[in-house]
């Protein structure tokens, strides 16, 4: 195994390391989310959880193309974005359970994880609610000449919000370094996007002169390549971009959405699981290209399982905030 100090480290080693990191990051999200599902079904988790399972390639492909101090904003389905940007599973689980040790001291919960240390401006439970914030962060980056890029993740449901188009106009007008990443998982809650969305989606951004691209959101390498190019472009002062990622939400709108046949068929779900799973497809490619064998990938899976088990246990054992915290942090 090579190390950072190895003087004869080859670029092939480096490539392999980066590819395995993509795999690890995607699998970390999946294992994390399966633990969340377990917490919910064991009635240990208050509130709701919106799982990111099936969409992992987008968060990982995009965030791996970013620097640590680049900004992201996230959504109610945000655990994947937080982890991909570098959040600690322990502190995330603690937040999901409303514990003092959580990222937001238990005050935010699943839908509001924020972490300045990893540039995470916060997950947002208003659909399209963080578009202004991400655009504003890009405004700061440009004004203060920090070289940072802001990424705004949102689902295709946000395409219905007017503020998105106001911000498209502002971002292109001022050539802001912001990338709008639209995760089209085909369902806004329980409604297929074709019932709510007309016309060509990337054309909406292109109408403002924004560079718009579409990528297979189940292909982490394709997402990474597109995001890298758009981030470099934004950093170089060439302005905003829109990246449409086609994907699929494997689970329900939230963990309690079990019986889904009234809005989508089991056959459709099975198709995505079997043919289009981002982790399965990527692991097969890794093996076919001899970047990793099955044993190496299984070792990563087991390591992640152990890590997430421990993180979940930490959160379960962690104390709740004291009641006197309730009126703290209302004002800065």
């Amino acid at each position: 195994m090579t190390t950072a100090s190895d003087p004869i480290r080859t670029s092939a080693d480096k490539t392999r390391e980066n590819l395995l990191r993509l795999y690890r990051q995607m699998m970390a999200i999946r294992v994390f989310e399966e633990h969340v599902n377990e917490l919910y079904t064991r009635a240990l988790m208050p509130g709701l959880a919106h799982l990111y399972i099936g969409e992992e390639a987008i968060a990982v492909g995009v965030c791996e193309a970013l620097q640590k101090n680049d900004y992201v904003t996230s959504t109610h389905r945000g655990h994947g974005h937080c982890l991909a940007k570098g959040a600690s599973p322990e502190l995330m689980f603690a937040e999901l359970l409303g514990k003092e040790a959580g990222y937001c001291r238990g005050k935010g919960g699943s839908m509001h994880i924020a972490d300045p240390a990893t540039g995470n401006l916060g997950a947002n439970a208003i659909v399209g609610g963080s578009v202004g914030i991400a655009t504003g962060a890009a405004f700061s980056a440009k004004t203060l000449k920090t070289g940072q890029v802001a990424v705004c993740f949102f689902g295709e449901g946000a395409l219905g919000q007017g503020v998105l188009y106001e911000c498209f106009n502002l971002a292109q007008l001022w050539k802001l370094p912001v990338i709008y990443v639209c995760e089209n998982n085909m369902y806004s809650e329980y409604t297929h996007f074709s019932e709510t969305t007309t016309g060509d989606i990337p054309a909406r951004a292109a109408a403002f002169g924004i560079k718009a691209e579409t990528v297979d959101g189940q292909d982490v390498r394709a997402v990474f390549a597109a995001a890298t190019q758009l981030a470099d472009r934004a950093r170089g002062g060439e302005g905003p971009a829109f990246l449409l990622c086609d994907t699929y939400r494997y689970r329900g709108h939230h963990v309690g959405d079990i019986n889904r046949e009234y809005y989508r068929s089991k056959k459709e779900e099975q198709h995505w699981l079997r043919e289009n799973d981002p982790i399965k497809n990527f692991s097969e490619w890794l093996k076919a290209e001899k970047h990793a064998d099955a044993a190496a990938l299984t070792a990563i899976d087991l390591e992640l399982k152990t890590e997430m088990d421990a993180a979940m246990k930490f959160a379960i054992a962690a104390p709740y905030p004291s009641i006197d915290q309730v009126d703290q942090d209302v004002y800065a």
């Binding site: 937001c104 005050k107 972490d115 106001e166 911000c167 209302v330 800065a332």
Partner: protein
């Protein structure tokens, strides 16, 4: 030696001075809004600022109140200190998600990790014959939301000192300016000063009745106090200056002294700021009261265009005088 003493300037000039001083003092402060640069806003409050600070710090925006308010929130979180200009207070309706769900909650929801040091400047007040969508006083809406601070200056002195403090505050602050007060003149020190948020100001001392006035209604209360004085009634006029934080102590102590109170606020009288201030007084000075605390606000109608109709929708010195006379058992 800095210059000392005072001079008379208008409310609009006081606002402009506060902005210019804070922009000179802190390069992170910038202004963003519709027609703020060369136009200096339709009220000309910002005239001259773009010439001094340039278009990168006095930024004209499209007519996209939600969009640029959201940009303000994000910019405030990431190292800048925006002053977002919403031309007419009626247009805050378009910014509600950005202010109520985003700006107000970011600090709390992040467990105190992110801050939103942003000021929204906007206007209130009727009587300009501008009809129902350019005449409202909607400051109660923001006062209702934890996480926002709300400032209602009534004089040039207060406007300048409070705006400087608002810009330095690390929380989102909404600063409402009465359109009819822009030309109001008053003494303002030449030397720098600030006024803390949450400290009421007694604009006139009295002993028989307390008139609590906010923003545009402070002048109305002062007019009523003069009319009452002619009748031998001594009215105290208290201006809370901010609805949140709220200086409950000064309001309650004044009413404990006078035993009577009228709260006058230009927002709609129903479910409004006047109701909240009246309740605060009733709770804090109940045993001292000689009568019910009265509320006076805008009539519960959309503000009409026609001048004789519009004029009756808002309290005046005369209508406050009439209510005060009744409360003092004199009519």
């Amino acid at each position: 030696m800095p210059e000392t003493g005072t001079r008379e300037i208008t409310f609009a000039e006081a606002v402009r001075e506060a902005l210019a001083e804070e922009m000179r003092r802190d390069s992170r402060v910038f202004i963003m809004g519709e027609d703020v640069a060369e136009a200096g806003t339709p009220f000309k409050v910002l005239s001259g600022l773009v010439e001094e600070f340039g278009t990168s710090r006095v930024v004209d925006t499209p007519i996209s109140e939600a969009g640029f308010t959201g940009v303000g929130v994000g910019a405030a979180m990431t190292g800048l200190r925006p002053v977002v200009d919403i031309m007419f207070g009626d247009f805050i309706t378009l910014t509600m998600d950005q202010m109520v769900n985003q700006a107000a909650k970011v600090h709390y929801m992040s467990g105190g990790k992110w801050k939103v040091p942003m000021v929204m400047r906007t206007t209130l007040g009727a009587a300009r014959r501008s009809a129902a969508q350019h005449s409202q006083s909607l400051h109660a809406w923001f006062s209702h939301v934890p996480g926002l601070k709300v400032v209602l200056p009534s004089t040039p002195y207060d406007a300048k000192g409070l705006l400087k403090t608002a810009i330095r505050d690390d929380s989102p602050v909404v600063f409402f300016e009465d359109k009819m007060s822009y030309k109001l003149k008053g003494p303002v020190p030449i030397e720098e000063y600030t006024i803390p948020l949450g400290v009421a100001d007694v604009k006139r001392l009295g002993k028989d009745i307390t008139l609590v006035g906010t923003s545009s209604m402070v002048q109305v209360a002062l007019e009523a106090a003069v009319l009452l004085e002619n009748e031998g009634i001594s009215a105290e006029v208290v201006d809370p200056r901010t609805t949140w934080p709220l200086d409950e102590h000064t309001l309650i102590e004044s009413v404990k002294k006078t035993s009577r109170a009228i709260v006058i606020d230009e927002g709609y009288g129903r479910y409004g700021v006047a109701a909240e201030l009246a309740a605060t007084i009733a709770e804090g000075a109940f045993h001292y009261l000689d009568g019910p605390v009265r509320r006076m606000g805008a009539m519960h109608v959309p503000i009409p265009f026609s001048p004789p109709l519009e004029d009756v929708t808002v309290p005046t010195g005369k209508t406050v005088f009439d209510v005060a006379m009744k409360l003092c058992g004199r009519s």
